[in-house]
Symmetry: C2
Subunit: 201 residues, 2 copies
């Protein structure tokens, strides 16, 4: 098989730059011109490698999720449901206000509502958020089996709750909330999980 001219840029490095642009401006707000400039390539290279704008977003989302999963594994490794929630929400407060990244979360900033032709982008993001929620739910199911959560506790509802708080914090972060404000929210939110936990004195 003939090989042809090799690619002159690194796809993962370029994806990191694209990710940042989508994160800061959203899917529709990000233009191909901004993306190509950040990635250091020209439009034909982008289209040859990722198909189109939506393909680039999907690739960026996969990379985002992959990087995030490393951290999520640490979160669900916490010994109790309460500590899982605490690590998750406190960590999110820090991550969403980390000056190294745009504020908030790509899975929210990417796009909540989109115009004609991009209607499925919000659902694409929702599917990625759902993966996180599933991971939490599985962890809470285990917590209940271990007697760490009360008999009446609903692991799926708890996971959905933690996920909802994360998203809300992301929106607040992107509109200027500082780290301390988000930590306060996280601190209150954890108490709901605590209320579903068994007492172990």
């Amino acid at each position: 098989m003939r090989m042809g001219r090799p690619r002159e840029f690194d796809a993962e490095t370029a994806l990191d730059q694209a990710m940042e642009v989508f994160w800061r401006h959203g899917y529709e707000g990000a233009t191909i011109a901004q993306l190509t400039e950040a990635m250091g390539i020209n439009p034909p290279s982008l289209y040859a490698c990722f198909g189109n704008k939506e393909g680039l977003l999907k690739a960026a989302l996969e990379r985002y999720t992959k990087l995030r999963n490393v951290w999520m594994n640490e979160v669900v490794a916490a010994p109790t449901a309460r500590e899982v929630a605490e690590r998750m929400l406190m960590g999110i407060a820090d991550k969403q206000t980390d000056p190294a990244n745009p504020p908030g979360c790509l899975l929210v900033q990417g796009g909540i509502a989109c115009g004609t032709g991009s209607e499925n982008v919000p659902f694409e993001l929702a599917a990625h958020r759902a993966r996180n929620e599933d991971q939490l739910r599985d962890r809470f199911i285990r917590a209940k089996a271990e007697g760490d959560l009360k008999e009446g506790a609903d692991p799926a509802a708890l996971a959905r709750y933690v996920s909802a708080v994360s998203v809300g914090m992301g929106v607040m972060a992107s509109s200027g909330a500082n780290r301390e404000a988000l930590r306060q929210v996280a601190s209150v939110a954890v108490q709901a999980v605590e209320a579903q936990s068994t007492d172990r004195s």
Copy 2:
């Protein structure tokens, strides 16, 4: 003063239609063509009445907040902090899945991230959300003064928390969560407020 030809459409009715379009498609996703069609007018009438697209959004936001305030007053009229949170979050679960409106909340769907030229739209929405948060905070301050909240409770943090959960629920609603799922989130969320309340047997 000379009067000129009178307007042939009702501004508030037209605003209701525009509100729905922004709610469903977001600020950037909504086009002038969609807006004028929904409003039943032509572009020159829109621009004469509201200045430009952003002016129309601001007018729609004001109307949204005005309609919503009627309900918010009922919410903060609840006798305890816990019941305020419950009315608020359960009511939001119902409102955000009301088939009479687009799913979610205009103050979230309107736009979380926007492109060049609309950077201040997300902050405009955040300012409206902050008004709600202030109303909750004032109510929780009163609750603390009445001994309804514990000594260590932080009314501002509680208000921010309830606001964050509302926003998170709005995002979930817009990506397909049903009423039952949102009610479960609300139900868990209320327990954090309950944990900050004094026991009154």
